[in-house]
Symmetry: D2
Subunit: 286 residues, 4 copies
């Protein structure tokens, strides 16, 4: 199934009358047909958000010229704008450590055609999952991390990611803190899966914390990585019921089902350009 030939525009700007009319006028005047339009107004911030996807089938502009032609409109309304094309599949790097559930889940979706991305490489700080990567024919790069080599290894990772033209980094249970250089190189393009319902139980061993507190529900949170650990914009969360019967080990085991599905869903929205970040929160146009 070839990717449908569509363009997606993500916008936010100060709210004022006529915004939808103006943007749809641009599309209509070049014979685009809107497939999906969602807008949201934050009255507290007086800010307008919109996601607009349209068919390029009869569109009279070339892909290359669309952005430039949108500029007058953007300037007029002080718009922040992102433009994406479905035909340009995102290139996604998976970062892993030892746990296999997220990586297998993503690779199985990819093989089934349910994840419209390219996965040019897997990066790991342990050798454990090399066989998993090789089974699916994805190049596996081992970057062992120590306190001493961490900075150099991350620099080498960034070089490799750039060389492979990676757009999006997915921390699929990668047990290392990402340093600022990497975050700056991929702003709001690094997705993490945290194994708790954030902001409850930040930091290490959240299932141990949850067990100690005696909660009746555990959760998982996928968020963009920012400089503040576990404080980035939340993309998706889900939970499940647990009980006094469940040991910490049970929580760890049960939680894996949450982690893999929450991460996969967040990535789905991300690669389809359904997520807009604003003031450390996300607008997810489902």
């Amino acid at each position: 199934m070839p990717a449908p030939d569509t363009a997606t525009l993500l916008i936010h700007c100060p709210d004022r009358p006529g915004l939808v009319h103006d943007v749809t006028g641009f599309i209509f005047s070049h014979r685009g047909n809107i497939i999906d339009l969602q807008q949201h107004i934050d009255p507290a911030q007086d800010t307008f958000f919109m996601r607009l996807e349209w068919s390029l089938e009869n569109f009279t502009l070339e892909q290359e010229e669309i952005e430039a032609r949108l500029q007058p409109l953007a300037r007029r309304h002080e718009m922040q704008m992102r433009l994406h094309f479905a035909s340009r599949r995102k290139r996604v790097a998976l970062f892993v450590t030892k746990e296999n559930h997220c990586i297998y889940d993503l690779l199985a979706r990819h093989e089934a055609g349910d994840l419209p991305v390219d996965i040019p490489l897997i990066i790991a700080n342990h050798e454990t999952l090399r066989p998993a990567a090789e089974r699916f024919g994805i190049p596996f790069h081992h970057f062992p991390i120590t306190k001493e080599n961490k900075q150099a290894q991350e620099a080498a990772q960034i070089d490799l990611l750039k060389k492979e033209r990676v757009d999006t980094v997915v921390l699929a249970r990668y047990m290392q803190i990402i340093s600022p250089a990497m975050i700056e190189a991929f702003p709001h393009q690094i997705l993490n899966i945290h194994h708790s319902f954030l902001p409850a139980f930040v930091g290490a061993k959240p299932y141990h914390q949850a067990h100690a507190r005696g909660v009746k529900i555990i959760g998982a949170t996928s968020h963009y990585v920012t400089a503040d650990l576990d404080e980035g914009p939340i993309i998706h969360q889900d939970v499940m019921r647990v009980s006094h019967e469940d040991s910490v080990q049970d929580l760890v085991r049960l939680g894996r089902d949450l982690e893999k599905t929450v991460l996969a869903k967040a990535l789905w929205w991300h690669v389809r350009d359904q997520v807009l970040v604003y003031q450390n929160k996300t607008v997810v146009f489902e």
Copy 2:
């Protein structure tokens, strides 16, 4: 809190380029500011759906003339259109039998200001809930129903509803089948709560059926009433987990929590004009 002065337009029509641009042009040209716009395209039916809510604060047309002024647009695009004003609160009649959970839930929401409607009357086929109605100061009308008097009683009910200018009828666990005359008098304006996850367990005693089948989840479904019993367009559904420990009586008791919240949510969407019916299904603009 006075109802905000807004207008809401619900539209469906054949899909074609320029629809959003055209409708938003109408709003913009009369100085309306869009508060919420949601559209949906059903590619299988090639049909366009939209809900548009805009502020009337600076709008240059009077409420009375908006509909007429929209006609050329509607004709041009073969649009089915409904126009509502937030300031004209819907008038809702509650139909009940003996069970109190839905009626108390709705009356408590109403008293708390969480249900923006008028409730001019409660109709019942038993006297049981008269004290409940009187406690909240709502006129209670008892229409005992027998096989012989059913047609006449329903005719009298319709007269009463018309006299009270009722828009919406809510069957809040009303244990009588509604006849065609009533359904025709209130097309897609009668909401029912069925105590199962439809289409599983239609008809009477769904909890008994669920228990006999040994399901691990029970549900409730709110739908518009149509001529086919339990077959009307579904507005909202929710479920809860049960187990072999739960007797039929437990399911009945537990299910009440589903019934009241599912019905209240469906009614919330209905009275805010967020629901559009199309080919026996609903588009719910959440």
Copy 3:
């Protein structure tokens, strides 16, 4: 429906072989028939927990002598023990402020026969809900609280509760911090409903905190009140999905449905003696 004539025993003690055999031997030897038996072992603490409910129909001991006759068994196994009788309905006091959703929900359940307790009184720090109490015929006591009179008013409340032989206090959205004297008077018998998924968003205005953090799920938590604010043993929690579309006011409104059902469920388990507190956590025998 009269309460079934059953006894319930809640036990915890160091784990060792033969505990179930020993306790069931006591029941069997006096011709009791077990209706429900649940046990739980915490291997980390090497502790045994059990809830045992049996029919008193043919039981050969009088209610009054059971506890004494269990003592040798309890001593032998160093058991902590609580004994309850279904026929002795708990007497529950509701504490409220201004919000009506929890109180109406509990009173409607009570009227429907779904809450097997007596509710001898409602205590409030505002007059707002007096009509609600009076509609259901429950005595309403207004104790206005100021910084100056708080200690005296709470002492008067305790006197009233003792006079009315209250077992259980339910803070049904009571917007006052309970002081240590009250907590000591009703150890693990005061239930609170906190309007967040604890331990996220402790303290005041949790929906504001949730909105600011941009969470995708909100929750409610019912717990026993202890000296540490919002840190008591959690009995029940539930959550619902929200989105960027929801304002703080939407979260407040939506959250009410969680609050009332979570509190009602926790109270249901409490009054049926299904909850055992241990090391600031609960064992809930569902």
Copy 4:
């Protein structure tokens, strides 16, 4: 991690006083320590159910003699009894067709040590998933099925399963109806995953049926296979929310996450001997 050395007893029989006492007496008298005991009484059927797991560490009977030694007890109480040992891992055969999500999910769990079984073989009616099986080193047997050869092929499958000493058959999206010979060979040991909330949408293409009906929730059901298609005892069910935005293809894609987790959970309970079948329903001792 070696399987803990425990025995599990599943019992049902007519309810009468002293059952728990009698069975625990047997365990205690041979120095077994109970790890988990759950019982359930169905008052409508006057039937007693119990699952009892105990440590064999100091148990004074050999595994081989336990069953015989339990016989007098079983006869006395007319018990149906099943005895399992954690150290004897179940041997599970996976049946697949073309869809990869359930098989990858189960194989990844198995590799992670989260599924305590042996998987000696995969049987398929298409070649599609041979590479998936081979990647995980599981022998893959292709049995193409036509109307003409179906009976012979199933007979060959049964021979193979017997030769491989298979206990449990998992239909992991196997798109063939199982015939009576297979069902008789593995009574209540064949698990299926049906892609709907049964009993809604039995038979083929349930997502198409769900879409046509306009439901707001889709589900998946894992059940034991019996002679009546989609009518076997339900082990586990789960659901997710969908909307008018979701096409049939979206439902198919989204539903896969339900299917794989529901099947995995049902299998988890099955292989740990937590499921007891009774009158076409299951008692699941969670």
